[in-house]
């Protein structure tokens, strides 16, 4: 992953609470075996009508917000389904950061793992930024990941990002590679754990090999 310390772009307002990942990436776009071609699916029902025609009422279709690189959402942005396709699609569409008061937990981790910046701000500041970008369509917003500051118009507002996640952006670490350096420690843990709890070890393999007697169901 590439290191990243600063994001700047046009910000589009999406003040919809509980904007779930089913809406961000509808089911018909989940049928691939790779990550490609997801930009089209982003917020599909909001952006397009049932005939596939762009809906002019959607900010993402409005000239001023065209090519937006930042979304400003509402509370619990990205709640619901674990589908990482939502994050891949947003990034393929050119979104580099989402600013919101809170995020769905799995979406949040998925975003961090793909270096989509998820900037948590107070509800007041989210409202403030939304108001500014609505009254100045197309205005640039900048996020300084080192300083954890959002600059919009003349204002500078703080945002939250855990130190570990901030380091991930600034350092561009490969998480799997980092964990694999601890392989010996993991193996030692696993063998001690299995000796202590043999009923938790290799369960997928064991259940497949067992007769799987059809006593699976509770009796009436």
């Amino acid at each position: 992953m590439q290191a990243m310390s600063y994001i700047e772009g046009v910000a589009a307002p999406l003040p919809i609470p509980n904007l779930d990942t089913d809406q961000i990436m509808p089911k018909q776009f989940l049928k691939g075996i790779n990550k490609e071609g997801l930009a089209q699916g982003v917020l599909y029902d909001l952006r397009f009508d049932d005939k596939g025609v762009s809906r002019p009422d959607c900010v993402l279709n409005q000239t001023a917000y065209k090519g937006a690189g930042i979304l400003v959402g509402a509370e619990n942005f990205g709640c619901g389904s674990s589908r990482e396709h939502a994050v891949w699609g947003l990034m393929q569409m050119g979104i580099k950061a989402v600013i919101a008061p809170s995020f769905g937990e799995i979406f949040y981790s998925n975003a961090i793992n793909n270096r989509l910046l998820v900037a948590r701000v107070s509800e007041r500041d989210a409202d403030r930024i939304t108001a500014v970008i609505r009254s100045n369509p197309g205005i640039a917003v900048a996020l300084d990941i080192e300083a954890l500051v959002i600059a919009v118009a003349e204002e500078k507002l703080p945002f939250q990002l855990a130190p570990r996640h901030r380091d991930a952006f600034l350092g561009g670490l490969d998480m799997i590679e980092t964990t694999l350096r601890e392989t010996n420690k993991i193996k030692a843990f696993a063998s001690a754990w299995a000796a202590q709890n043999p009923w938790l070890d290799n369960v997928g393999g064991k259940v497949a090999l067992s007769a799987n007697p059809r006593k699976a169901i509770s009796q009436p």
Partner: protein, 473 residues
């Protein structure tokens, strides 16, 4: 993180016991006992593994099943016609074969929804960490296992390392005293809780459910409860294992033989929250106040007791929530401050990892026996697994359902998220036993009302939303 000498919650015990390494103040490297996969969130993880030329660290700790995209037409052998979906199934088979991972494939008689087959085949045991690329992995808390959903990048991490870089959650206790009244089921209880604390009321928290009403629930009902905890934003749900849990697990986990059974049971006896263990937040509910629930909106917290009116917009104080409610009413074709009783439904869907277990189907069969689905209503029952389907056939449930005019389908996720060909038409109104009423979830412009299997069965017979407690048609 608290030290081991202090009073600890069940969640802390689970996290502590699985911590390979403390990474920083908030993150640990968590060991994963079991990882479940489906055909649509795993392909890119396998591709990433291959691209980096990495192996699966512990193949026996993974299991895969085809469930999200599979058609549920009542024909055998099952064939996936849609080319993209067929490719996902073929790809999953290829990945599992290459890495030595157990797959419950399209025509395996044990195939079913991942969160239904894993417990019923005895894979889920108390004290286990179970992860899956699906948000409803919280289901396993019902068995005293720490389960939660992960994304595809994390799936790749688990495949490569058998661990997860895990942000430790805050903790919440939800105590439910009293007894659920007649007509109210676990589904009504969890909808009532979500309606009360909100769709993000438990966001960031691992939730432990406890209290007399939880103790009284069957293991399957507890799965319904924990399954939907994620709809309040919970990162995990837990219920301390009790006698019922242990009976359930031992009846199914055939590899736990005489040699280790006593050891296992005594280890499980320590899986409870210590008396003085503190949590960050606590809620108290009285089960006797729970009415049969129906959702009116497009978020699972937009729910009311069936005899109540939908909220008036003026009663919602936050302007943004008011706007969300206005938008939800418009999408659902409903008005604020009105009753849902008598609202006609076009479709009834009984299924999903929330409510497609044998106990759910018994409830439905008990209600519809000798009755007929209302004219003009299309009602489907999609059992949660091949085992549930077979059991329902052996118990005569399938015959009752078919005689009543229900479609008796093959197992899968089906119209819960409509990735297969079970989809609502625009404006179709559906009484659904699933977990999400999100806009477009069951089909573009489709209108989903979440409810219990009993309420959905009543709606099927009446052709409209009725109060199951007055069901005498």
């Amino acid at each position: 993180m608290k030290s081991c000498s202090q009073a600890r919650t069940l969640y802390q015990k689970m996290v502590d016991s699985h911590t390979v390494q403390i990474l920083d103040e908030h993150n640990v490297l968590l060991y994963v006992d079991l990882h479940l996969m489906n055909e649509y969130t795993s392909p890119q993880a396998f591709a990433g593994l291959d691209a980096a030329d990495r192996a699966v660290a512990v193949p026996g700790a993974h299991v895969a099943v085809v469930d999200h995209i599979i058609p549920t037409h009542p024909v055998r052998p099952r064939v996936i016609q849609d080319p993209a979906s067929a490719l996902q199934a073929i790809n999953l088979r290829r990945n599992c074969e290459r890495h030595g991972i157990t797959l419950y494939d399209t025509n395996d008689e044990r195939q079913g929804i991942e969160h239904i087959i894993a417990p019923e085949l005895g894979m889920i045991r108390p004290g286990m960490v179970v992860l899956c690329g699906d948000s409803h992995t919280t289901t396993y808390g019902a068995l005293g296992a720490l389960g939660f959903g992960v994304g595809t990048s994390e799936i790749e991490h688990i495949l490569a390392t058998q661990t997860l870089v895990y942000r430790v959650a805050s903790e919440m206790r939800i105590r439910v005293n009293g007894q659920l009244p007649l007509g109210a089921l676990a589904k009504d209880l969890i909808l009532h809780i979500i309606g009360s604390i909100g769709a993000q009321g438990a966001r960031g928290y691992a939730v432990e459910f406890c209290g007399a009403a939880i103790d009284a629930l069957s293991v399957e009902a507890r799965m319904t409860l924990c399954n939907m905890a994620v709809e309040a934003g919970a990162r995990a749900a837990l219920i301390a294992p009790d006698k019922k849990t242990i009976e359930y697990v031992l009846a199914r986990a055939s590899d736990i033989d005489d040699d280790i059974r006593d050891r296992a049971v005594s280890a499980w006896a320590s899986l409870f929250s210590d008396e003085n263990a503190s949590v960050d937040k606590e809620f108290l509910f009285d089960a006797s106040e729970v009415e049969p629930q129906v959702t009116w909106g497009t978020s699972p917290d937009q729910t009311v007791g069936v005899t109540h009116l939908t909220p008036a917009l003026e009663s919602i104080s936050s302007p943004m929530q008011r706007e969300a409610a206005r938008r939800a009413f418009q999408y659902m074709g409903l008005a604020p401050g009105t009753s849902l009783l008598g609202l006609p439904v076009h479709r009834v869907f009984i299924g999903s990892c929330t409510n497609a277990r044998i106990e759910d189907l018994r409830v439905v069969a008990g209600m519809v026996q000798g009755r007929r689905v209302a004219d003009g209503v299309r009602a489907m029952v999609v059992p949660g697994s091949g085992s549930v389907r077979l059991q329902a056939e052996q118990e005569g449930i399938a015959d009752i359902l078919v005689a009543a005019g229900f479609e008796w389908r093959q197992p899968g996720c089906s119209m819960c998220l409509a990735m297969n060909d079970d989809v609502l038409e625009p404006q179709e109104r559906c009484a659904s036993t699933t977990n999400r009423n999100f806009e477009g979830r069951q089909g573009r412009a489709g209108r989903t009302h979440l409810m219990s299997p009993a309420m959905a069965a009543a709606a099927a017979i009446a052709g409209k939303i009725i109060d199951v407690r007055t069901f005498t048609i």
